[in-house]
C-alpha cells in the first residue's frame, strides 16, 4: 500500500505529468489571491519546488489526493506570504531553480485568466477602509518592498509595531477577499 502510494510522484516522469496537470491552475489560484502575476509565479514555483523536494513523503494514491496535497502546500505558502509580506524562495534556492520572468503580454494573460481586475477593485475599496496607519505600513512593505526595519524607520515606530500594522492590514484585505467569495480556508 505504502509502496504504491510512494511511487505516485516519485519518478521524474510522473512529477512532470503532475506539473502539467496542476501548474496552470496553481498560477491562477495564486494570482487571484495576491493580485500580482509575478508574485503568483514565484509562489507557484516555490510550491512546486516544495512538492518536488517532499514528493517521496507523499502518501496519497490518486491524482486527486496529489492535487489536495499540492494545494495544502500552496495554502501554507500563501499564508506565509500574507504573514511576511514577501515570497519565500527556500525550496527554489535549494533546488537551484532559475526563475523565469514573465513578459508583459504573459502578465496580461494571467490577469485575464484570474479575472484580477474586479478583485483589485475590491482590494482598493478595502484598502480605503483600512486604518491609515496600517495602509501606510502595507504600502511601504508590500508595494515599495521595504524591509520591516525600513518601514519602522519611515513611520517612526518600532519594528514590532510595523510588523503588527502590516499583519493587521493584510488580514483586513484578506477578509475583504473572503467577502468576495474567496474563503478564509482557501486563503490560509
Amino acid at each position: 500500500m505504502v509502496r504504491r502510494k510512494h511511487a505516485l510522484l516519485a519518478s521524474s516522469e510522473r512529477f512532470s505529468a503532475f506539473y502539467g496537470e496542476n501548474a496552470g491552475d496553481l498560477l491562477v489560484f495564486f494570482a487571484r489571491r495576491v493580485l500580482d502575476p509575478d508574485v503568483a509565479l514565484e509562489l507557484t514555483a516555490e510550491t512546486l519546488a516544495s512538492a518536488f523536494l517532499s514528493r517521496r513523503r507523499f502518501r496519497g494514491s490518486s491524482s486527486g489526493e496529489a492535487r489536495s496535497w499540492l494545494y495544502g502546500i500552496a495554502r501554507h505558502q500563501l499564508s506565509r506570504f500574507f504573514e511576511r509580506g514577501a515570497t519565500e524562495r527556500r525550496a527554489i534556492e535549494r533546488l537551484g531553480i532559475r526563475m523565469p520572468t514573465m513578459a508583459a503580454d504573459e502578465q496580461q494573460r494571467v490577469e485575464e485568466l484570474a479575472d484580477i481586475e474586479p478583485l483589485r477593485e475590491v482590494v482598493r475599496s478595502a484598502l480605503a477602509g483600512v486604518a491609515a496607519d496600517q495602509r501606510d505600513a502595507i504600502r511601504l512593505r508590500v508595494v515599495d518592498e521595504r524591509s520591516y526595519s525600513e518601514v519602522a524607520g519611515a513611520l517612526g515606530i518600532s519594528e514590532p509595531t510595523a510588523r503588527a500594522r502590516v499583519s493587521r492590514g493584510l488580514r483586513s484585505l484578506a477578509r475583504a477577499l473572503e467577502a468576495q467569495g474567496i474563503t478564509k480556508e482557501e486563503i490560509a
Binding site: S12, G20, A23, F52, R56, P100, E106
Partner: protein
C-alpha cells in the same frame, strides 16, 4: 511539452517546467558507484573503527557530543535519512555552491548497531560497521554515533555523500577549527563541487574569513558560513555550551585549483576584537594523492607566507 497539458500556454510556465526537468535529469546523471569511491569509503570505515573504539570508553561517549547538540535544529532535510534515529535528522545549513549546486548540511544521530546483535552477521543494509568488526567486538549497550552529512538535494534519494564526525577527541589538535571534512558532489573527485565542514567550539572565535591564495600571490575571498548554535536552540537540543560549524561551499573550479595545489584555501580565525587567533590551511590534509607538486611555502601560523 506543458503547452498541451496546462490549461494555458505561458512561456514562463514552460520555462519553469524545463527547470524541473533539468533537476530531475540531474538525478539520473549521477552514479552512486562513482560516489562511493574507495577513498571515501576508506575514510568512513576508518572513522567508524575509531568511533567504535571510542564508544567503549567514557571519552568516546563524550566525543559523540557535538553533533548531538545540533539535533533538533533547523528544518527537515530534503532527502530521507533512513539510517538516522527518527526525528533527529535536521538541516543546520543549506545553500548553493558558487557554481549553483544546491547542498544541505544535515546533522543526524545514528545507531550503527541497530537491527543486529554482535556476533551475528550484519544486516544487508548499508552500515558503517563491517561484519568482521561486529563478530570481533564485545556486546555493547545501545548507543549512537553522530554524523554531519552533506546532502545534494538535486541528486535525489540515496545519492548523497556523507560522513560521520565526532568531537574534539578525534582531532586531538589545539586548533579552534576541528574535525575537518570535505564532501564531494557525487561523481569524480577534485573536479566537482564540494562542501568543507568543521567544528568550532572555541567561544573566543567571533569570525572566520576564508580566502583563496594563488601561487603568484593574488587573493580572493571564498564564501563561508559560520553557523552558530546558541540561545533558545541550545535549550531545545539540551546542549550546555554554544558552538559553531564552519561550512565552506566550493565550486568545481575552486576544488580543482586546490587539489592541483594551484591555490591554497586558508581560514583566518578572529576574535571579537578582530585580532587573529589562528590562520590555517584548510586543505592541508586533503588532495595528497592528487599532485606531485609540493604545497606552497607556509608561514609559522600555517598560512601561505
Amino acid at each position: 511539452m506543458s503547452a498541451d497539458r496546462t490549461p494555458m500556454s505561458l512561456p514562463a510556465l514552460d520555462a519553469l517546467e524545463r527547470e524541473f526537468e533539468r533537476i530531475s535529469a540531474g538525478q539520473h546523471e549521477a552514479t552512486p558507484l562513482r560516489r562511493l569511491s574507495a577513498p571515501r569509503l576508506a575514510w568512513g570505515f576508518g572513522l567508524a573503527l575509531v568511533l567504535l573504539a571510542l564508544s567503549f570508553t567514557p571519552p568516546g561517549r563524550a566525543a559523540t557530543g557535538w553533533v548531538a547538540r545540533v539535533t533538533g535544529l533547523g528544518g527537515e532535510p530534503a532527502l530521507p535519512h533512513p539510517e538516522s534515529r527518527p526525528g533527529t535528522a535536521v538541516v543546520v545549513d543549506d545553500g548553493t555552491t558558487p557554481d549553483r549546486t544546491p547542498y544541505e548540511v544535515v546533522a543526524e544521530a545514528v545507531n550503527p548497531l541497530q537491527g543486529f546483535k554482535f556476533g551475528q552477521q550484519a544486516p544487508a543494509r548499508s552500515d558503517p560497521i563491517s561484519p568482521e568488526v561486529a563478530r570481533d567486538a564485545q556486546p555493547l549497550p545501545a548507543h549512537e554515533i553522530f554524523c554531519a552529512a552533506v546532502d545534494w538535494p538535486s541528486v535525489g534519494d540515496n545519492q548523497s555523500d556523507r560522513g560521520c564526525v565526532s568531537g574534539n577527541e578525534l582531532d586531538g589538535s589545539s586548533s579552534p577549527v576541528k574535525n575537518p571534512d570535505l564532501t564531494f558532489f557525487p561523481g569524480r573527485h577534485t573536479d566537482t563541487p564540494a562542501v568543507f565542514t568543521a567544528e568550532v567550539e572555541d567561544s573566543s572565535v567571533a569570525s572566520i574569513e576564508v580566502t583563496s591564495h594563488e601561487q603568484e600571490g593574488s587573493t580572493k575571498p571564498i564564501q563561508s558560513h559560520l553557523v552558530s548554535v546558541d540561545g533558545s536552540v541550545l535549550q531545545k537540543v539540551g546542549a550546555k555550551e554554544p558552538f559553531s560549524v564552519l561550512i565552506v561551499p566550493l565550486s568545481a573550479d575552486e576544488v580543482a585549483a586546490a587539489s592541483s595545489k594551484a591555490t591554497t584555501i586558508e581560514a583566518t580565525v578572529r576574535d571579537a576584537q578582530g585580532s587573529q587567533i589562528e590562520c590555517m590551511n584548510l586543505f592541508r590534509n586533503f588532495f595528497l594523492e592528487q599532485s606531485d607538486q609540493p604545497p606552497p611555502e607556509t608561514s609559522g601560523n600555517g598560512c601561505a607566507g
